[in-house]
């Protein structure tokens, strides 16, 4: 077995093109932020009924995916599968980059982003948000140490413990993210303990899907060999995660359907909700679930890199649709303040709330993706983190036997 060599990427035209594209997207996003913060949120589609909109959909996708992007490193360090070890640095860097992208979107959508220092210095320890601020910062710190143990030969001996710490931490972190909604007793669409484990499994699927695309792009654009062995293992794992997301989503709604008090909100999401119903069934279930499963496992499609990449992209789009249904759909359904009564008021009581995302909000969300990808590109240039070759014989000398 050859020892995998980690090497930085070169400053090619492609490298600068990527920096240019992501940099431009970030500038556009910052322009959108200036527009929104200067005018106030009245230029967005958000209002006093739908208080969290497109920025939160993107931010939570990125934060959830960040946790899952660490899958590959965890499998190597925690579960001892050495074949994945060469990819651990990319997995770790991608996790940190996605988290920073998501946090940027979340912070820049605040009513007072200039008061970020207040959020860092005033803590209400009963708030899940406050826990999350600590969980996110702690995760970044652990990832830095974890990356150090992967890249510095003198630190390798601490790799196992750092990997284990990162693994536990990210499970807690995604529990915290899911609990933002799970703990909201006020709204019919939330208030469910299953939110936390569902967010964890969503993170596995979304994070691995992003990882697959980044890995494919990095290896194709740097002309480095990427063997079928590792791709096949990862895409099989991705399929399992996608199936698990569908399972959790179904159980969540089935449990609600059993209780009469939840029939209203379930009918809204699953049958009568217009855009939300379409996004749930077509976006989340078909495009983000059944179609990728077909592409990843069907004999005719499962060996095509292009189609595995397409499946990953569909999982990402389906994930965004799923989060849109959870976040915006959960707010669109009216609060049930007077059960059994018909309610009306000047403040949209008793009616389905409207939300049309503005361009600026969406650009800010896309800016989060751009930040994550720019960071990965820059770090791939700055650090020797990407294996020169992931050809089958480099990754696993027994690959032909193992796959037979």
């Amino acid at each position: 077995m050859k020892k995998p060599i980690l090497r930085e990427v070169n400053e090619s035209m492609g490298f600068y093109a990527l920096l240019g594209v992501f940099g431009a997207l970030i500038l556009v996003a910052l322009g959108a932020v200036y527009f929104m913060e200067h005018n106030g949120h009245h230029v967005t589609g958000m209002n006093n009924q739908i208080v969290w909109g497109m920025p939160h959909v993107f931010a939570l996708f990125l934060i959830v995916a960040a946790s899952g992007a660490l899958n590959v490193a965890s499998i190597a360090s925690v579960f001892g599968r050495y074949q994945y070890k060469p990819l651990a640095p990319l997995s770790t860097v991608l996790a940190a980059a996605l988290l920073l992208g998501g946090l940027m979107v979340l912070v820049l959508d605040l009513g007072r982003p200039d008061r970020l220092i207040v959020a860092m210095t005033y803590y209400n320890f009963k708030s899940i948000f406050a826990w999350n601020i600590i969980l996110y910062n702690g995760f970044l710190a652990i990832l830095v140490v974890y990356l150090w143990t992967q890249l510095d030969p003198t630190m390798v001996k601490y790799g196992k413990i750092a990997g284990f710490a990162a693994f536990i931490w990210r499970l807690v972190l995604t529990t915290g993210t899911g609990s933002i909604f799970g703990f909201l007793v006020a709204r019919q669409g939330y208030d469910a303990a299953i939110m936390a484990p569902m967010f964890i499994i969503m993170s596995f699927a979304f994070g691995l899907a992003v990882f697959m695309l980044v890995m494919f792009a990095a290896y194709k654009w740097t002309n480095r060999p990427l063997g079928d062995g590792i791709v096949r293992r990862l895409k099989n794992l991705l399929g399992v995660f996608v199936g698990a997301v569908l399972y959790f989503s179904l159980v969540f709604h089935l449990t609600n359907l059993y209780a009469t008090e939840h029939h209203g909100v379930e009918a809204f999401i699953l049958r009568d909700g217009g855009i939300f119903t379409n996004l749930y069934w077509w976006g989340h279930f078909v495009i983000g679930g059944l179609l990728p499963l077909f592409l990843l496992y069907c004999r005719k499609t499962r060996d095509s890199r292009t189609l595995i990449g397409l499946a990953s992209l569909l999982i990402i789009l389906g994930g965004i649709a799923q989060l849109y249904v959870i976040i915006v759909g959960g707010q669109a359904y009216p609060l049930d303040m007077f059960p059994g009564m018909e309610v009306s008021s000047s403040f949209a009581d008793g009616v389905v709330n409207n939300y049309s995302p503005s361009l600026a909000e969406t650009l800010l969300g896309l800016g989060g993706f751009a930040v994550a990808m720019l960071l990965v590109t820059v770090v791939a240039r700055a650090l020797r983190m990407l294996p020169e070759s992931l050809a089958d014989d480099v990754v696993d000398p027994h690959h032909s036997k193992a796959d037979a």
Binding site: Y122, L184, M337, G340, M341, A382
Partner: protein
């Protein structure tokens, strides 16, 4: 070897340049987005001996009447100065809600505002502690440390809170409000601290006598406590166990 060294130097140069860019990007938003906060401290001289509350008798509340709403607007200066926000973005500290029982056709009208819960979810979820409850039970937002995350609005079962979507002018001095922060009914804390009662209660004409009573729930001799003892009172979403200070009769 020398090629390797050159590659290393170019990598280090790149690292140095990247560090400068990162530093710039980190510092710039703080400079560009910072606007000085208005200096004002809320009077915290409140005691847990009192628990201020409002009792609303829906039988006395006329569906065509919104005097409580207009009185609140006049007192606290909301409702007129949000010119750019659409109707779903404009703040409403108190609103009239119309109820109809689909089984019997029975109709009711009642005002809904911040219910000043004993266990307020908005206070629980607020990351900075800007959402807070005074010792006398009045739930407020500290505008100096509200970062505008709107988690309290997600958590409130009464939809009592509003976010300010634009720059405001012409605010009432008793109720400072600011773009990018969250606000709600303060139970007219400025009047209560001066020994008075909330503007909505004062303005309420009722059908045959006032529909709203303000007082100290902890004082057994107060009118509100006596009425609650004699006739009872209901909480909206009592199932949540939040024990609000605003109680209703007739719902």
């Amino acid at each position: 070897m020398s090629i390797n060294n050159q590659a290393d130097q170019s990598r280090r140069k790149f690292l140095g340049n990247s560090a400068a860019v990162v530093a710039g990007v980190t510092i710039a938003p703080g400079i560009l987005l910072h606007t000085p906060a208005q200096a004002r401290s809320l009077d915290q001289a409140a005691s847990s001996k009192q628990r201020w509350g409002i009792l609303i008798d829906t039988n006395q509340c006329d569906s065509g009447c919104d005097k409580c709403v207009t009185a609140c607007q006049t007192e606290n200066g909301w409702g007129k100065n949000e010119t750019k926000s659409n109707s779903e973005q404009q703040a409403q500290w108190i609103r009239k809600v119309e109820l109809k029982d689909p089984n019997t056709g029975h109709q009711q009208s009642l005002p809904v505002m911040c219910q000043h819960c004993e266990n307020p979810p908005c206070v629980d979820v607020c990351p900075t502690g800007a959402s807070m409850k005074r010792d006398d039970g009045i739930v407020l937002v500290d505008k100096h440390i509200c970062i505008g995350c709107r988690y309290c609005m997600m958590a409130c079962p009464y939809k009592a809170r509003s976010f300010i979507h634009e720059e405001l002018k012409g605010q009432a001095t008793v109720a400072p409000r600011g773009k990018g922060t969250v606000e709600s009914c303060t139970m007219c804390v400025q009047r209560v601290d001066a020994g008075g009662s909330p503007a909505c209660v004062e303005a309420c004409p009722g059908k045959n006598g006032k529909a709203m009573v303000f007082g100290d729930l902890n004082d057994a001799n107060s009118e509100i406590a006596k009425r609650l003892k004699q006739y009872g009172g209901k909480q909206i979403r009592a199932d949540l166990g939040l024990n609000p200070s605003v109680r209703y009769q007739g719902i």
